[in-house]
């Protein structure tokens, strides 16, 4: 959804061709490695917005190609964009693969949760080191937006690492508690008493 609204925002700034929009989106998002978006995704999104009347498209007469055409924002597009900009944005940090591994390790006899925590910590530190290395090479006079994005990644990794410390410190306590199980309903016909 963020792609859609960001495209609207870029069109609010000026009308553009589809390929220009994609290039503008990528540089805004902090580079291709930060946010990969395929041309097909851009055109699908633009077509949907055309259908719902959020954008207009004017095709130059000398071409019949579907992709050639200048997109511009409509009044209802402006309204939608203003609404989106006005809302707070919460990502979902709860869907965590490591957390599922940890919960499984409490159930499976051959998996050591301590080892799991160490492996995860090592992976997080490798990533933190990689980002730190890239970040220190960026120029604050021309690449400040990317630096800020990397600062965010750094702080998230820092939070994950602190969370691991908490888990590790309280692991024995967690182990001694029952692992949550769904309540099983009896299947089939109830037995007669």
């Amino acid at each position: 959804m963020s792609v859609r609204y960001t495209l609207l925002g870029l069109l609010a700034q000026q009308s553009r061709y589809g390929y220009e929009l994609r290039a503008a989106f990528i540089s805004l998002a902090g580079g291709e490695e930060a946010w990969e978006v395929k041309p097909a995704q851009i055109y699908t999104t633009l077509n949907r917005m055309l259908e719902s009347g959020l954008v207009d498209k004017s095709t130059p007469e000398d071409t019949s190609s579907d992709e050639k055409g200048v997109y511009s924002i409509t009044a209802s597009g402006q309204k939608e964009l203003a609404q989106w900009l006005d809302e707070g944005s919460l990502d979902d940090p709860q869907q965590d693969a490591f957390f599922l591994k940890l919960m499984l390790s409490l159930e499976l006899p051959d998996v050591d949760p301590t080892r799991l925590i160490q492996t995860q910590r090592s992976a997080l530190y490798q990533e933190l080191h990689r980002i730190t290395t890239v970040r220190t090479k960026l120029d604050p006079h021309t690449e400040l937006a990317r630096i800020l994005l990397m600062d965010k990644a750094t702080m998230h990794l820092e939070a994950d690492l602190r969370w691991l410390d908490i888990i590790e410190a309280r692991l024995e306590e967690v182990k001694s508690q029952p692992v949550p199980h769904p309540e099983m309903r009896p299947r089939g016909r109830p037995t007669k008493n």
């Binding site: 530190y125 490798q126 933190l128 080191h129 730190t132 820092e158 410390d165």
Partner: protein, 245 residues
């Protein structure tokens, strides 16, 4: 080439029922030119390890080899000389002398070693210049920010061209921006000036500047992680080999 080698190193404080084991048979090899961080919860023994390696404290058991010399067998004079010539120390609260200027503070290890003040001052000024403190040579510590004081402390640690820099929570008293600058400087000490750095910190962001993190818990090494891409890959392969044997 190993520059620091720690074998079965233990340190206990107190006797009988009040006996506390700070380090419990720690083994560690640090190669020349590595930037190593020691991490772990409070009381895990990380500062004790740093103090034993720096010869600031005597082990209860085991040995510490610095540049292949066993420092646990050295007398106080030899130990002082080794500390002054081969090691530089950086502390959390900078430990600068309030009545001396930045240049005089940075020159101190050389002056104590008998180098004439004008020679020592010139070398201190060079290091302060490299640490972006060239325009503050005559400032006293109370005229400098925390980050700047730590830069002076790093110049003081570097001035005797030591092999090893030992840093105990060097960013513990600094805001995040100054912390990043100090971590960058310590990284530079390794990558540009060829020193070996051993740093204790509890800040993950600062630890990530290092090439390697050693985790201590209850006085023991519980994990040892290489962070540099190429080096990390080598160690992973080595680990796999060892596991297979």
């Amino acid at each position: 080439m190993a520059i620091i080698e720690v074998k079965n190193l233990s340190k206990t404080y107190g006797e009988g029922s009040t006996k506390v084991t700070a380090l419990n048979s720690v083994n560690l090899v640090i190669e020349k030119g590595q930037f190593v961080t020691v991490m772990g919860p409070s009381g895990c023994g990380k500062s004790t390890l740093l103090h034993l390696i720096g010869g600031l404290d005597k082990p209860s058991d085991g040995v510490v080899l610095i540049d292949n010399k066993d420092i646990s067998k050295m007398n106080d004079n030899d130990l002082t000389e080794l500390r002054r010539r081969k090691m530089g120390f950086v502390f959390q609260f900078y430990n600068l002398i309030p009545v001396l200027t930045a240049e005089e503070n940075a020159a101190l290890p050389l002056v104590l070693d008998g180098v004439k003040m004008n020679v020592a001052g010139a070398r201190a000024a060079e290091w302060l210049e490299r640490n972006q403190m060239g325009d503050r040579l005559t400032h006293r510590p109370d005229q400098l920010s925390g980050g700047q004081q730590q830069r002076v402390a790093i110049a003081r640690a570097m001035v005797s061209e030591p092999l090893i820099i030992l840093a105990d929570e060097p960013t513990g008293n600094l805001d995040s921006r100054a912390s990043d600058e100090i971590a960058t400087l310590l990284h530079q000490a390794v990558s540009e000036w060829g020193r070996t750095v051993l740093m204790v910190t509890h800040d993950p962001r600062i630890a990530a500047y290092a090439d390697r993190i050693v985790f201590l818990k209850d006085g023991r090494v519980v994990d040892d992680v290489l962070l540099e891409g190429e080096k990390a890959e080598n160690t992973r392969l080595l680990k796999e080999k060892v596991d297979r044997l």
